[in-house]
């Protein structure tokens, strides 16, 4: 393992201080916690609180700021934060209109956030939650933990965050999320695994010439391994999966997010984005919202994910384009 760190057990703590050093005008740390708080919370508006294991930077803390998240709770690497930390985030973020928790669909995250929600209810803070499950590599059935929450989560942060800023109530935001989340789908490909600092070893092994489709952002196994191919063919495979999931037709309107998983350079992300753009153009899909970059990473995993959101309502595009002041958006 070759990493620019000090002690593996200190990575989350020291990362948080460094992140805040870079954006001191926007964010602060709640003392004694791993919670990052927006310094300019909007009085009387619903506060959006997200979080989860660390290792996905700039998610989640990089999206704290006016127009997106009120607070983010950082767990240990790839480990959900505990309820007491989430509760602290809820208490400090609440501006009198309630708190909406954004949870990615993992067993640990769901349980910890739900417990925090129950504790907050005892303190008479109005709290509800939404669960993001955009990874179509996983079958959603009663026999699995269901689809995972991956890169599409940042689009949820943006849309719901902007909608909260515009003054929607907790109930309205929850109803909005119920429409938005099923309209977001993501599929990824990995070329190599990320290495958790405390374990020191890559999460899984791929041969030099191999890639794996459908790998999760913690290295969860994907749906197929094969020899590495040109970007255009990878774009075809991922677009095929999304076409099957969306069943789109010519003229449909989507937003696109090409997301690097940590170790894949922007050059490769741009090349891949160009290939996807051509494929979608040939199918006459409109793409009024576009974003390319490393937003939901998996430590130093090489690979990328492709997210599409079907823009079923004009407001969604407005909220995606609304101003937000955060470290990473």
């Amino acid at each position: 393992m070759k990493k620019i760190i000090n002690k593996p057990e200190d990575v989350v703590d020291q990362m948080i201080d460094g992140l805040i050093f870079g954006s001191e005008d926007l964010i602060e740390r709640i003392p004694g916690t791993n919670v990052i708080l927006n310094k300019q919370l909007s009085k009387g508006k619903v506060a959006l609180v997200s979080g989860g294991g660390s290792g996905h930077e700039p998610t989640h803390a990089g999206f704290v700021g006016p127009g997106m998240l009120a607070a983010a709770v950082c767990g240990q690497v790839f480990t959900s934060p505990a309820p007491d930390q989430i509760l602290e985030a809820i208490k400090q973020a609440d501006q009198g209109a309630g708190v909406l928790l954004v949870i990615k669909n993992y067993s640990g995250d769901i349980m910890n956030f739900e417990m925090a929600e129950e504790l907050a209810a005892m303190d008479e803070i109005e709290v509800d939650h939404i669960v993001v499950d955009d990874d179509i590599a996983v079958e959603d059935s009663t026999y699995t933990a269901g689809r995972r929450g991956v890169a599409g989560t940042i689009l949820v942060h943006k849309i719901i965050g902007a909608a909260a800023e515009s003054g929607l109530s907790l109930k309205e935001l929850k109803a909005l999320a119920d429409q938005v989340i099923p309209s977001i789908k993501t599929i990824g490909v990995a070329l190599s695994a990320g290495t958790v600092p405390e374990s020191g070893k890559p999460g899984f092994e791929l041969e030099d010439n191999e890639m794996e489709y459908g790998v999760g952002i913690h290295g969860e196994p994907g749906y197929r391994r094969e020899p590495i191919k040109p970007s255009r063919e990878i774009a075809e495979e991922l677009t095929d999966q999304l076409r099957k999931a969306f069943q789109w037709k010519a003229g449909d309107c989507y937003g696109i997010l090409v997301n690097g998983l940590g170790a894949t350079p922007l050059m490769e992300q741009y090349i891949f984005a160009n290939d996807v753009a051509q494929l979608l153009k040939s199918e006459q899909i409109e793409l009024p919202f576009r974003k390319i970059g490393s937003y939901m990473t998996s430590l130093d995993m090489a690979g990328l994910s492709l997210t599409l959101i079907q823009l079923k309502d004009d407001h969604w595009l407005d909220w995606l384009n609304a101003p937000a002041r955060t470290t990473a958006w």
Partner: protein, 194 residues
């Protein structure tokens, strides 16, 4: 029978056992999870031991609640809320009926199922808690019964938690959460708490 002293002794023995076997727990977790169950449990029981040694207790409920909060805030992941919920439910039950160990463990088992929504056979710690409760009700809890319950998770296919993403590939491995729950009940016997 549970008393303040025997409950503390039991939880201390559990801590020792987790600490001693943390590498094995992580090894089990590497096969079907993300490989940190041992490290997470060791962090949790260390915090629990500290919390239990820093305070005097006048009820079993108090002991269990203190232990629950330490585990809840320090284990993290999925195991934190599961063990935390179990011990909170056990504390509540102990407040009502402290003499009946079976009903206390039953409450813990129910707390886990309510939090994690797993059923027996899903390859989770529920597969150890449920048979242990049944054995306790019949005054038949033994090391063999615990060992068998843990071992019986090996051929199961995971339907909950991170291991469920592996589908059939989760078959043939012992569930790490079942193993750590096995330690909890083994130390119940070893501490002469029954």
């Amino acid at each position: 029978m549970l008393t303040v002293e025997s409950t503390i002794k039991w939880l201390n023995l559990f801590s020792e056992k987790v600490e001693k076997n943390k590498d094995y727990l992580s090894e089990l977790d590497q096969a079907i999870g993300d490989g940190d169950h041992g490290a997470n449990m060791a962090r949790g029981v260390a915090a629990m031991n500290e919390a239990l040694s820093n305070k005097s207790f006048d009820s079993i409920q108090d002991v269990l609640k203190t232990a629950a909060m330490a585990l809840l805030s320090k284990i993290g992941g999925a195991s934190g809320p599961l063990y935390g919920s179990a011990l909170i439910a056990m504390a509540k039950q102990a407040g009502e009926d402290r003499s009946d160990l079976a009903s206390i463990i039953q409450a813990g088992s129910d707390g886990i199922q309510k939090r994690g929504k797993a059923e027996p056979g899903d390859k989770t710690m529920v597969d150890v808690w449920v048979p242990v409760v049944n054995a306790l009700k019949n005054n038949k809890l033994s090391a063999d019964i615990i060992k068998k319950a843990v071992q019986d998770t090996e051929p199961l296919k995971a339907k909950k938690g991170r291991a469920s993403y592996l589908g059939d590939r989760s078959i043939g491995h012992i569930d790490p959460g079942s193993m750590s729950s096995g330690y909890l009940f083994e130390t119940l016997i070893e501490g002469d708490t029954l």
